[in-house]
């Protein structure tokens, strides 16, 4: 089941005002984009403080810390693990000077103390001309790829020697995303703002820096009327999702074609952040609301409100690949900011179960706006005018019914004529009364306003196949004082709960009702569920029922119902077990069964006799009737079943 757990704190952030500012905090906190669902290390560059590495398990702890000057802003940060070593690369900004740093170090294990920041092999630094928007350490190629605001894509080795530079020809790069395909090729796409609400999209293939063409442009698209400023963008499995306002636009790569738009009507105005989490699924925050969305089915898989904070902004998520992977658990890292004039912020981790991405998870959780079209039964063919069709003004009728509530006659005098109901039970000509909401409201009105005497509308509704499920709970209990309604509910009301039916069956003393109840139970439910539910019933009730069955009664209903009572007895004994019955009951039971067996044997003999006689006087017409009526009893239960 998809779920979002309560976040837990990784670390408190230093008290720097800009880190508490929602608009800027995401840019100042650079979490290395290396998260996997099973990761235990988190690398984060905190502007004005440090580049740090944390472990999550067993308890969140700082394991490596590289302090930076308080005036430094971390523009980008990335880490790659090469066997036992790690390569760290981060970009710093101090006023208008920009630099890239690279260091190699062994994988940390011990917690960092203030005095010991961990071992470092090599550390390099290089100044760059413009602000780096992204740095990426590509371990397989032993390359660091940086993209500068000016549109330059630069390849460095680990000692920060420039290997290759490529001009993507658009200034003002806003968004850079690296990804690899199934055959492990590396790609990057770059989104740059162009004047006049335009954005350039470029897709590059990255090769070895010593290859003939290390960066090759695969596609280039200019998008009109597209603003990066107010959009939250992420890339996932060949698609780009862009949240702006209350809707998400989905684009497909490699050509950046617009595929469709998803509107989010549930989203209130607030500070939003939007990150991928698994295929077709995304995390969305709005102030302190955290949503797990399925963007294929348009459903809110899970929702959590973080009451103790003012805002929660997602920084990075560990994306679960594919749909059907066994592991659905992953994490997301965000920054939460508390309420108050002097707020504090902290880095938090949220555990997330992304679910399976299947329809199973999304069932009944959709957020798409409801179809406002009329709920009336529409005719299939327009031209066929002689087919009857009715439309009711449900709101008006409901209004009138509510006014008449409390007065039985008045209620009925509105209910039946207004809806054109001719019989006092449901017939196919009433199929036009199909609005579930209306039926629910009428049922509510009846149950709320009538107590001792119900209008005729209720028995009618009880025969309606669309009787609202919400009102079937405890309906038998409610109608117990009205034998006719009670029986009507047992016989025709849909969606009765098994629990309730069994409860009534176990306490019933009336053979006629017993017949109805057992018919209903055996009709609607299968053996497993009945057995399961019997187990939840009290022992006294079960014993009562057993003695009720054994209490031989020669009532006509009882005889009619005998096969079903045996079936039920069978189920009861199966589920409670013979040994849970008292000695006395057991003895009685065995006596009873023996006696029934005797009757069966007797009947069989009689039947054979009759059959013999039948064959002899085959001309006698009356004989066939006799055998027909006997046949039912004989065939209804067999000896094998009783020997269980």
């Amino acid at each position: 089941m998809p779920s979002i757990s309560q976040p837990f704190r990784l670390t408190a952030l230093p008290k720097i005002a800009s880190l508490n500012n929602y608009a800027s905090q995401a840019n100042l906190l650079q979490v290395a984009d290396t998260l996997t669902p099973s990761t235990n290390y988190i690398n984060v560059g905190i502007s004005g403080s440090a580049i740090s590495q944390y472990v999550i398990n067993p308890t969140p702890k700082l394991v490596y810390n590289l302090p930076i000057s308080s005036t430094n802003v971390v523009n980008a940060c990335d880490v790659a693990q090469l066997e036992d070593d790690e390569v760290w690369c981060y970009a710093l900004q101090a006023n208008k000077t920009f630099s890239i740093h690279c260091l190699q170090k062994p994988v940390s294990s011990a917690p960092a103390s203030d005095s010991h920041f961990g071992e470092t092999y090599a550390s390099n630094k290089i100044a760059v001309s413009d602000q780096p928007v992204s740095v990426k350490v590509i371990g397989a190629k032993k390359t660091i790829v940086t993209v500068l605001r000016s549109g330059l894509v630069q390849f460095y080795d680990y000692s920060l020697k420039l290997q290759y530079s490529f001009d993507s020809s658009y200034k003002n790069v806003q968004f850079v995303q690296h990804f690899t395909n199934e055959s492990k090729q590396d790609f990057v796409f770059i989104l740059s703002d162009i004047q006049g609400k335009k954005v350039s999209f470029k897709l590059l293939e990255l090769a070895q820096p010593d290859a003939a063409v290390p960066a090759k442009e695969l596609s280039s698209v200019i998008l009109e009327d597209f603003q990066l400023k107010n959009s939250e963008i992420f890339y996932q499995f060949g698609k780009i999702y862009r949240l702006h306002g209350k809707s998400i636009d989905v684009y497909t790569l490699p050509y950046f074609q617009h595929s469709h738009t998803i509107s989010l009507p549930f989203l209130s105005k607030g500070e939003t952040s939007f990150k991928p989490i698994s295929q077709n699924r995304a995390l969305l925050t709005c102030d302190n609301q955290l949503y797990l969305l399925d963007l294929l089915h348009n459903a809110i898989l899970s929702h959590r409100e973080l009451t103790h904070v003012k805002t929660f902004q997602l920084l990075t998520t560990a994306v679960v690949p594919g749909n059907f992977s066994a592991n659905n658990k992953t994490i997301a890292i965000g920054v939460s900011t508390k309420h108050g004039a002097n707020p504090t912020s902290s880095l938090d981790i949220v555990n997330i179960d992304v679910g399976t991405g299947t329809l199973k998870d999304s069932m009944g959780k959709g957020f798409s706006p409801q179809n406002t079209k009329s709920k009336h039964l529409q005719p299939l063919l327009d031209e066929n005018s002689d087919v009857e069709n009715y439309e009711y003004d449900y709101d008006q009728i409901l209004e009138q019914l509510r006014k008449a509530a409390g007065n039985v006659d008045k209620f009925d005098s509105i209910f039946f004529p207004k809806l054109g109901i001719k019989q006092d039970y449901y017939t196919e000509s009433d199929r036009f009364i199909n609005d579930q909401n209306f039926l629910r409201n009428v049922a509510s009105t009846i149950f709320e306003n009538f107590n001792s005497q119900y209008p005729k509308a209720l028995p009618y509704l009880l025969t309606h196949p669309l009787f609202p499920k919400s009102h079937t709970q405890d309906i038998l209990q409610r109608l117990k004082d009205h034998p006719r309604l009670f029986k009507q509910a047992i016989v025709t009301c849909p969606n009765l709960s098994l629990d309730e039916l069994l409860q009534e069956l176990f306490t019933v003393l009336n053979d006629e009702l017993c017949l109805d109840l057992s018919l209903r139970i055996l009709q609607d439910f299968n053996k497993d569920i009945i057995k399961e539910t019997i187990k939840t019933k009290s022992k006294i009730d079960v014993n009562n029922f057993i003695s009720f069955v054994m209490n031989d009664n020669i009532d006509e209903d009882r005889i009619k119902n005998k096969p079903r009572l045996f079936q039920l007895l069978n189920l009861v004994l199966d589920s409670v077990g013979l040994f849970s019955l008292g000695d006395e009951t057991l003895a009685k039971l065995s006596d009873y069964i023996e006696q029934q067996l005797k009757v069966v044997k007797q009947n069989v003999e009689l039947f054979n006799l009759l059959e013999d006689k039948n064959i002899k006087n085959i001309s006698n017409q009356n004989q066939t009737d006799v055998s027909a009526s006997n046949e039912g009893i004989i065939a209804a239960y067999s000896i094998e079943q009783l020997e269980l």
């Binding site: 658009y170 395909n181 790609f187 350039s200 897709l203 003939a212 063409v213 090759k216 442009e217 695969l218 596609s219 698209v221 200019i222 499995f237 060949g238 698609k239 790569l253 490699p254 074609q257 469709h260 295929q279 294929l296 089915h297 749909n323 399976t356 299947t358 329809l359 199973k360 069932m363 009944g364 959780k365 409801q370 179809n371 079209k373 039964l377 529409q378 299939l380 063919l381 087919v387 196919e428 199929r431 199909n434 579930q436 196949p465 669309l466 499920k469 849909p494 969606n495 709960s497 018919l519 055996l522 009709q523 609607d524 299968n526 053996k527 497993d528 569920i529 009945i530 079903r564 079936q567």
Partner: protein
């Protein structure tokens, strides 16, 4: 959910199918049932169908030309309109021309309709737009039909024989002379109370068996074109047995044949005896081999052999000089007609009588020298739920469901039609499945299955899936009441590699166990030679006597689509899957049935991602979690795991993984699963209530899984002027979008549609009760192309599309860097792709490139090149 903005336009066309017409099959007094014509050059044969004329080449055994009536307005009026005529004779050349000296063109044929119209058509080249049509039947009585046209090429004379039914067994025949100058028919002779008729193959002699006033049966033989009276012979029908106690079958003549020089007459009886009369001395001898009615007889042109056929499915050759016999056994149907075409070919009319719901005719042309099958002509062979109107069965010594006996000849078809008319249930639905890979249509046909190519309009294969008496031989007499196993349902896995068939076996009649049907599920794999090979057979898959009410194949996400669900009529459901290690299908998951609740309204649907199963049983739809195979969120009251509908559910379909289309006996609903609400509902009650057997409405609905369009067929009985129902039907095909909020098409068809299916592409294929096949298809205009490509947003398996496109991009760039010869290779590939038609529907017009030049600044050469490629490829 995700809706593309542009909808393709659908249109309806009846383009394929049809059945072979045996024009005289309905007329019991005619011995010859079929009509065919050898073309001028004797290389092809023209066969009439109920919707077209087909020309089959004798060399290649292929259909080389079709003349579709629907392509011409006048022919449509003649042969396709309600209650219209059939082809009753085809003659070479324009036989109606006024001046005999006028040359007839090589490619012309004259087609006579049963109403007396003659149409002169081209069978080569283009169909004439305004064919010459003459109405010769102006002075016909109502009900009078043309049964034969006789031609005398020497004197250029033409005579037309018509018949009018007097009573159930006897007919009035009228012979007309054709007056060329007036282009009209003049009556020249009338025969009253004709029981049976035959004519010589060379059109020179006519023989009729008439019942005279004293109920004595007399044979009357006369030449057709010479006036001399001395050749007219009349004599009483000789008796085959001397004993007077024999049954009526030995007196009941079922078939007759007259040889070319009027020297011998063969009469076949219902008892199986053939009486061969020498017309010179009236001596006769009996040929006994058949054990049930002789249904067809004919002489070879030199009168030395007699061909006979009947229920045995064997063609027998009698050498008349020696009385020796030779056989051609194992024909595919009962031999209802045989005739000699031009000495070189035997034409056999076969009827598959096991299908009692329709007259399934096949025409077989054999080379007379080696008896090799040259051409086999048949349309789709369909089994309907109930017999359709005008079904005719051959006469047998006993009466059964698939035969008419000599005694119930009196039960006229009129009575049957009255019964049909009165019945409320008008369920002529049929089973049809489309194989996902080959797109062949599969029709379960009694114990066999027919694969049919919709586009070529030819049968592909006919394979027996169950063993029965019928597979190798015909059934005679009491065997007719033995019921062979019936293929009740057939499905294909989504990958097309497996066929799942469900068959019902019937115990013999009149036993205590007669109602204990046994049920079998069979899993077939496609072998290399194109035959389905049985891999796994499951006896009583849902327990003894429990039927399989519904079969649903797994979506691609479950076990590579090699799985299926079956549901019984008691709420039980089972999951079967193919196990690679044991190389067998096995039962994998079981959902237990209810206690005492039985219903035939059982339907299944499966989400594309395989996670949920929707099981409709009676009026309830239960949502099952596939992994646990249990009710979804069992025990939780609030979970959306059960839906109660207003009446028994007839069909459910999961569309776009978010909408469940539910058709009940009263309404058609779209349930939004994500919101858990019913969104649109339509009133089905007037068109469905009691008309279809429970569960059969599903045959009238289909869903395009690629874009979620839903097709629904509504059949209605046509009303006459007084608003009374008639035997005719009209139908509508409605196309809806995925959530039923929009109606994308509403098409009318003039016949009852018995099944509609999505062809795993863009079209819906339907079958009507005249065995015609039609398509409701989309036309794609170039400006919509871009949108169309992206219609499959819901397809979870398409992420690879991105990968492949990316791959294409990178490789295309790589190839730029290669040497020139390698580049050529790539070009060839793309040309090849073009030939394969993958992109052939792309149309380039002057606007195609305009978008390319926008924002051209800063684009690299490679990118530009790519854009060009994208537009043109």
């Amino acid at each position: 959910m995700v809706q593309s903005v542009v909808h393709q336009k659908y249109k309806l066309g009846v383009v394929s199918g049809g059945k072979v017409v045996f024009p005289r099959a309905e007329n019991r007094s005619c011995s010859g049932k079929t009509v065919t014509l050898l073309t001028h050059d004797q290389t092809a044969v023209i066969v009439p169908f109920n919707n077209q004329l087909k020309v089959y080449s004798l060399e290649t055994r292929q259909c080389v030309k079709t003349l579709k009536y629907a392509n011409n307005e006048q022919l449509t009026k003649l042969f396709l309109a309600q209650g219209s005529a059939q082809v009753s004779h085809i003659a070479l050349g324009d036989v109606t021309r006024q001046d005999s000296a006028e040359e007839t063109k090589e490619r012309e044929v004259s087609v006579f309709s049963s109403c007396g119209h003659v149409a002169v058509l081209n069978y080569k080249g283009r169909l004439v737009e305004e064919p010459k049509i003459l109405n010769l039947g102006a002075n016909f009585q109502p009900g009078e039909t043309v049964i034969k046209v006789f031609q005398d090429p020497e004197h250029n004379e033409l005579k037309v024989l018509t018949s009018l039914q007097e009573s159930s067994a006897s007919y009035t025949y009228r012979l007309f002379d054709y007056r060329r100058s007036e282009q009209a028919l003049v009556e020249c002779q009338t025969f009253q109370h004709v029981l049976l008729s035959a004519w010589s193959a060379n059109d020179r002699y006519l023989c009729v068996l008439v019942r005279d006033l004293n109920s004595k049966r007399n044979l009357h033989i006369q030449p057709l074109f010479s006036e001399s009276d001395n050749e007219v012979q009349t004599f009483p029908l000789p008796s085959t047995t001397s004993a007077s106690t024999t049954s009526t079958n030995s007196h009941f003549a079922t078939s007759m044949a007259l040889d070319n020089d009027c020297s011998q007459l063969a009469i076949g009886f219902a008892s199986g005896v053939i009486n061969l009369i020498n017309l010179q001395d009236k001596s006769s001898r009996l040929l006994k081999w058949h054990i049930d009615s002789v249904l067809s007889l004919c002489f070879t042109s030199d009168s030395s052999y007699l061909l006979s056929g009947g229920w045995e499915k064997v063609l027998s050759f009698w050498q008349l000089s020696t009385n020796l016999q030779q056989f051609l056994p194992r024909l595919s149907g009962v031999v209802v007609d045989c005739s000699v075409i031009n000495d070189k070919f035997y034409s056999l009319g076969l009827q598959v009588t096991d299908n009692h719901t329709n007259s399934d005719y096949q025409l077989l042309l054999l080379n007379s020298t080696d008896l090799n099958s040259r051409v086999s002509v048949s349309g789709p062979l369909c089994v309907y739920q109930t017999p359709v109107k005008d079904v005719v069965f051959p006469v047998s010594a006993v009466s059964s469901r698939s035969s008419a006996s000599s005694s119930d000849m009196n039960k006229s078809t009129k009575k049957q039609q009255r019964k049909l008319l009165k019945r409320k249930r008008q369920d002529f639905s049929s089973c049809l499945e489309i194989q996902p890979n080959t797109k062949h249509l599969y029709f379960p046909h009694t114990s066999a299955i027919q694969a049919y190519d919709f586009y070529k309009n030819e049968q592909v294969s006919y394979q027996y899936l169950a063993s029965g008496v019928n597979n190798s031989m015909g059934k005679v007499r009491s065997e007719l009441n033995l019921k062979d196993p019936i293929i009740a349902d057939v499905k294909f896995t989504k990958d097309g590699k497996w066929m799942i068939s469900y068959e019902i076996e019937y115990p013999p009649d009149n036993l205590l166990s007669s109602n204990d049907l046994s049920h079998t599920l069979k899993f077939w794999r496609m072998s290399e030679n194109g035959q389905w090979v049985l891999e796994t057979k499951v006896l009583s898959p849902h327990g003894v006597k429990a039927p399989v009410s519904s079969i649903l194949v797994a979506p691609r996400s479950v076990n590579n689509s090699q799985g299926c669900l079956t549901a019984d009529n008691n709420g039980g459901i089972k999951y079967w899957s193919f196990d690679e290690t044991t190389n067998n299908w096995r039962l994998s998951k079981v959902g237990i049935p209810n206690n005492n609740h039985f219903s035939n309204s059982v339907e299944l649907a499966w989400s594309f991602d395989g996670s949920l199963i929707f099981h409709a049983f009676d009026d309830k739809i239960t949502v099952l979690d596939f992994n646990a195979f249990k009710k979804f969120h069992e025990g939780s009251e609030k979970a959306f795991n059960e839906l109660t509908m207003d009446s028994a559910v007839q069909s459910i379909m999961l569309v776009n993984d978010s909408n469940l289309i539910v058709a009940t006996q009263t309404t058609l609903n779209s349930v939004n699963l994500l919101l858990g609400q019913v969104e649109s509902s339509f009133d089905m009650f007037p068109y469905v209530n009691g008309i279809y057997k429970n569960g059969h409405l599903a045959r009238m609905m289909s869903c395009d899984e690629k874009n979620g369009r839903v097709a629904l067929v509504i059949n209605q009985q046509a009303l006459d002027k007084n608003k009374l129902p008639t035997l005719n039907h009209t139908s509508h095909v409605l196309i809806f979008n995925a959530d039923l909020s929009q109606r994308l098409g509403n098409f009318e068809h003039d016949e009852y549609i018995s099944c509609i299916r999505w062809n795993h592409d863009t079209d819906f294929i339907f079958l009507d009760i005249k065995n015609r096949l039609g398509a409701v298809s989309t036309t794609t205009s170039p400006e919509m192309l871009d949108e169309v490509d992206r219609d499959a947003v819901m397809d979870q398996l398409s992420p690879n599309q991105f990968e492949s496109e990316l791959q294409k991009l990178t490789t295309s760039h790589r190839s730029d860097g290669r040497k020139a010869d390698e580049v050529e290779d790539v070009d060839e590939d793309s040309v090849f792709e073009f030939i394969n038609g993958e992109r052939s529907q792309k149309v380039i017009n002057m606007n195609s490139f305009t978008s390319m030049f926008e924002n051209i600044e800063n684009a690299q050469m490679d990118t530009l090149f790519d854009r060009v490629l994208k537009v043109i490829s």
